[in-house]
């Protein structure tokens, strides 16, 4: 190590001699000769890390750019951040970072992480002027991030059983039931799923429901899906993810033996999932909108798991965290996610079943989803979901008076960043939301695993879907049934 250090120091001294000294001379000459506008020069040169840049990073970047999170480097301190200055400038100027995909012409989102032009200018000026550190005393206080890698500070945590993900092969969607980790009626105010090995987790979702005597605990259940060697279904019918008559496979957590029977799964969530982990979406927090989810005592928690084999056999140990409150919040959060199985609107399932994407096609509209609103409701988030061929998605609301409004448009859907777009839109009874996904099965889609294949609806990432997840708020004591109709 010591010889390496000496080598680096020698290299630095060499750089100082070869690069910095001539650069200083050049800069001095340029400054003496060039008529730089005084005001802009003063403004730019005054920008320092501690005073100007760090507040931007704290607000928009550090949640991911800190040790243990997904960002490739830390932005907590000057010494962590400084070597990446040029890359940061390029990323913010191109608006690649922070990741945010909503077309700014539509909608208003209170979790918009994109930088303002002033914030971009701050970073650009800082970089252009040599990325100076400035006075540490001018820095804002550091943010106290939650311990243990959490984004929230959970009051209640639970560990999912270790799941051995094979190196190869197909892992179909599985479900497993547990008693909910609450002994009494509980208002949940935020949720986070922390995957143990993010590389293999396509999704993890869960919902709560009243315990049924037929629901076994700690037993994975999944449906057999007939597939060819290349992974495509032998008979795409739009029902790969839901409960139906067929071959049910089961495995007790912690064991390897798989049993097979004809019938229907007994582990299934009859409602909509309350929360999902998806790539780019680690947590949901209902506290900013004064809302929560009521989990009655004695509820079961039905967890839907979808692992993807990556060529590396791993054991995933995922965790779930909750914040809870004893004070009932003013509002109740109602999720609406994709339909699955018999309890979903039949029309949507048929629409998914008709999804067919030709080889090499670069702009294929999927089946249009229509959601009717049967009562007044407040829409608070969107979380569109497609797979790696997803290209765009547009949510258009038709009001009862005939007026139409695009509430969200993602011109570049990205499977790696399945963000929640938080908003507040009062939707009157009688309105209709139309949700249109498009798909890119061409070679220009760098995430496309095989443009030569026809692509149909399915739960695997090389298959496709278009799920217009939305979330709503209603008064705490409102009857939450019958708000939506889907087609």
């Amino acid at each position: 190590m010591s010889s390496d250090v000496r080598r680096i120091i020698r290299a630095m001294l060499s750089r100082i001699a070869v690069v910095v000294v001539p650069m200083v001379l050049i800069v001095m000459v340029v400054l003496a000769a060039a008529p730089v506008p005084a005001a802009s020069q003063d403004t730019a040169s005054a920008v320092t890390f501690h005073k100007d840049v760090l507040p931007v990073l704290q607000k928009n970047c550090q949640s991911c750019h800190r040790p243990g999170q997904i960002g490739p480097f830390s932005m907590l301190t000057y010494k962590d951040t400084r070597p990446w200055a040029k890359a940061m400038k390029a990323a913010v100027v191109a608006r690649i970072m922070p990741p945010w995909f909503a077309d700014p012409r539509y909608g208003h989102f209170n979790n918009d992480r994109s930088l303002s032009q002033a914030e971009i200018d701050t970073i650009v000026n800082w970089v252009n002027n040599g990325a100076p550190e400035g006075d540490p005393a001018a820095a804002p206080p550091p943010i106290e991030w939650p311990a243990g890698g959490w984004q929230i500070k959970p009051d209640v945590t639970m560990d999912l059983p270790p799941y051995p993900v094979p190196a190869r092969g197909i892992v179909e969607w599985e479900r497993i039931a547990f008693p909910a980790p609450f002994k009494e009626d509980t208002w949940v105010t935020s949720v986070e799923i922390m995957p143990g090995v993010p590389a293999v987790v396509h999704h993890m979702c869960f919902g709560f429901q009243k315990h049924k005597a037929t629901t076994p605990y700690g037993e994975y259940q999944w449906m057999e899906v007939p597939r060819r060697e290349d992974g495509t279904m032998t008979k795409p019918d739009g029902t790969t993810t839901g409960p139906r008559d067929g071959i049910v496979l089961t495995r007790v957590a912690g064991q390897t033996a798989v049993t097979r029977r004809v019938g229907r799964p007994t582990v299934y969530h009859e409602g909509t999932n309350e929360f999902c982990y998806l790539p780019g979406l680690p947590f949901e927090d209902y506290r900013p909108v004064h809302a929560g989810m009521m989990v009655p005592a004695g509820s079961d928690m039905i967890v839907s798991l979808h692992y993807t084999a990556t060529g590396l056999a791993v054991v995933d140990k995922s965790r779930i965290g909750f914040t809870v409150t004893k004070t009932p919040p003013a509002k109740k959060f109602l999720p609406q996610d994709g339909p699955e199985g018999d309890n979903a609107p039949v029309e949507r399932q048929q629409a998914n079943a008709s999804l067919k994407i030709p080889p090499y096609a670069d702009n294929v509209p999927g089946p249009l989803a229509e959601i009717g609103f049967l009562k007044d409701v407040e829409l608070v988030w969107f979380r569109p979901h497609a797979h790696v061929r997803g290209k765009t998605v547009r949510y258009t609301l038709s009001y009862p008076d005939g007026k139409e409004e695009t509430l969200l448009y993602l011109p570049h859907y990205n499977f790696n960043w399945q963000l929640t777009y938080r908003t507040s839109v009062k939707i009157p009874k009688g309105s209709k939301m139309r949700v249109q996904f498009t798909y890119d099965n061409s070679t220009s889609n760098k995430y496309n695993p095989d443009p030569s294949k026809w692509v149909y609806f399915g739960g695997q990432s090389w298959e496709e879907m278009g799920t217009p997840n939305m979330g709503f708020l209603v008064d705490r004591d409102a009857d939450d049934k019958g708000f939506l109709a889907e087609k």
Binding site: M12, P83, P198, F415, N416
Partner: protein, 248 residues
């Protein structure tokens, strides 16, 4: 834009080293020769990146880049070619004297290194990347012909043969980041040509001035190493979400 200074880079190295698990390894080639290398293991499962040095340096020229890639979530392997660094031994003690013999052995040595890398417990063996400088460039491109699991390459100041150039032109899903210095005339022209042949929309070339040759450019272009890390994060996802189905 003014050039960025390098002052914090040593501090970064120390900081990053605290997170990395690095060990010296020996990669056995098909003829039994032990190629010496360093392996940097990622905490969780992730892609692997092989770093191939130029023929006027050894694997230590990648010490800092390897650490940065490792901190960013990658498993990283550096090796010394025969006749260099720790692999300068026995009949391969003098690269100049054994040049052709060593060059002839390089494809097999790359295969051995990729096999070693892909067999490590935290490496997703179907998601590999390569960084190569100068004489390593030809080996990297040729390796990508033999190993479809190589999903992206960073090529510094080097050239390849006509068959490999054709391979680049026929591989629209293989993004390539090339870099060279203008005064390094032949290498710069070759890198421009290679990247120009790529049909991948994200492939790009970066040309510097008076920056030197291959990984030696890091000394004068302190932003190049961070750029390489960012390139891999965009084109070889650590989470694997963009990977083809594992069944393929």
């Amino acid at each position: 834009m003014k050039r960025l200074r390098l002052v914090p880079i040593v501090m970064l190295l120390f900081t990053a080293a605290a997170h990395a698990e690095q060990r010296q390894v020996s990669v056995t080639a098909s003829d039994g020769f032990a190629l010496q290398g360093n392996y940097y293991s990622a905490d969780k499962g992730g892609p692997g990146i092989l770093l191939l040095h130029q023929c006027n340096a050894d694997r230590r020229i990648y010490d800092q880049l390897a650490t940065m890639l490792n901190v960013a979530g990658y498993n990283v392997l550096t090796i010394d070619w025969r006749g260099f660094g720790g692999s300068k031994t026995g009949e391969y003690a003098d690269f100049g004297a054994q040049r052709q013999k060593i060059l002839d052995r390089m494809p097999g040595d790359v295969d051995a290194a990729l096999k070693f890398l892909g067999s490590q417990p935290t490496v997703i063996s179907r998601a590999l990347g390569v960084v190569a400088g100068s004489c390593g460039v030809n080996q990297a491109v040729q390796a990508s012909r033999r190993h479809p699991e190589i999903r992206t390459m960073v090529l510094l100041s080097g050239s390849t043969d006509a068959a490999s150039e054709a391979h680049i032109g026929n591989s629209p899903t293989l993004p390539i980041f090339g870099a060279a210095s203008e005064e390094d005339t032949d290498a710069a022209a070759a890198i421009k040509k290679i990247v120009g042949l790529s049909k991948h929309p994200d492939s790009r070339v970066e040309m510097f001035k008076d920056a030197g040759h291959a990984a030696s450019m890091f000394a004068k272009q302190p932003d190049l190493e961070p750029d390489i890390v960012i390139w891999f994060r965009a084109n070889l996802p650590v989470a694997g979400y963009g990977l083809p189905p594992a069944i393929r």
